[in-house]
């Protein structure tokens, strides 16, 4: 059973989707039933940041070892992370329409996440524009480390220091302060875990594909 974590990912996701729509939630003004989006919107970002973090670790490893396998792992993790980021923006946008009244506002948090997506897309473009493999691996690794630290600044620190509409930022209380009751925690934490495991699974498949392609090209 070395693939137990894949089964766990599916079980957690099925549980969190069914539970997310059916289990009782606290009644909040303005939020109403849209509070259930917490089970989908927030885990996307957790999964994205986990993938980008692991990708950065592989980039650091690549800088010290010059192993091309680490480079392939880093890029595939970023590819999957970008998908999660786009989904996070999409779910957040729908949520914003029902609570703030607009799909997009010029908020620090929203701009920060959009800019982060642009930075990682630039990383993919940068990596695609260099021919030589060793050189590509090293330059992409440098940019990837740069990108992750900036991600922490743009999503994590900037919105907390200035005025933001987003819960948990700019003096607003986060959900865990008052309305993440025990019922919601029962679904929320499995959902976060499930999506992270799912992201790792998808990137694992992509890494294996990239390695096989490399082997085929070598022969």
């Amino acid at each position: 059973m070395r693939n137990w974590w894949k089964a766990l990912a599916i079980i957690l996701l099925v549980y969190s989707i069914i539970g997310g729509f059916l289990i009782e939630v606290p009644k909040q003004v303005i939020l109403y039933e849209s509070i259930r989006n917490l089970y989908f919107h927030v885990p996307m970002w957790f999964a994205m940041i986990t993938l980008f973090f692991i990708s950065m670790i592989y980039s650091i490893k690549n800088l010290s070892s010059s192993n091309l396998k680490d480079d392939r792992k880093a890029i595939e993790m970023v590819n999957v992370g970008i998908i999660f980021g786009v989904l996070g923006i999409a779910t957040g946008s729908i949520w914003a329409k029902f609570t703030w009244g607009a799909f997009w506002t010029n908020d620090v948090k929203l701009n920060g996440s959009a800019i982060t997506m642009l930075i990682y897309l630039a990383y993919v473009i940068l990596r695609g524009s260099i021919e030589d493999e060793q050189k590509r691996a090293r330059i992409a690794a440098v940019y990837n480390i740069f990108a992750f630290v900036l991600l922490l600044v743009f999503i994590g620190i900037l919105p907390r220091m200035t005025d933001s509409l987003h819960p948990g930022n700019g003096g607003n209380p986060g959900f865990n302060n008052y309305d993440l009751d025990n019922n919601m925690k029962l679904v929320f934490y499995p959902a976060v875990f499930g999506w992270i495991l799912f992201g790792l699974w998808v990137s694992n498949i992509r890494i294996r594909m990239a390695n096989l392609k490399e082997q085929l090209l070598d022969n």
């Binding site: 800088l63 701009n111 920060g112 800019i115 642009l118 930075i119 630039a122 473009i125 940068l126 524009s129 260099i130 060793q134 050189k135 090293r138 330059i139 690794a141 440098v142 940019y143 480390i145 740069f146 630290v149 900036l150 600044v153 743009f154 620190i157 900037l158 220091m161 200035t162």
Partner: protein, 172 residues
Amino acid sequence: MTTWIALYWIVLIFAATNASIQSFKAESNRQFLYYYSLCSPQAIILSKLFFNAILILLIALINWLFFTVLLSNPLENNLLFSVVLLLGSLGISGILTLISAIAAKTNNNSTLTAILAFPILLPMILTAVKASVLCGLGFGWEDCKDYIMLMGLINVVIIALSYILFPYLWRS
């Protein structure tokens, strides 16, 4: 007043980008080899960074002068605006220097430089514009403190990252 500030920063960004993208382009590979035998990569990136910062600050001041002559000066707190300019040029130079070092490794593709630098510049510029608007309205240190500290924070992060990461770019 807000239009003045918006125009000012747009002009400054374009001028600064064109000025500092050259910083690694101008040197040939042989020249790099010569530098390599002379000093450490950290010394090179820091010297390039501070040179660019002074250059961009100079451009910003000339820009300000021309704006004052041609469009008059609507700003009420000039001293604080100078502080914003100082931090802004240091930050812009930090970002553009590292990015141009990366782009220099990719056959000096200038489109790539724009793609890489633009998203990283944005938060810095947005913060600088917000701080400039407050300066323009005559608010003092107490109200601008947060934005100026944010710019300082971004500067510290970017300069530290350039210092740590540049040696790896250098080696190839």
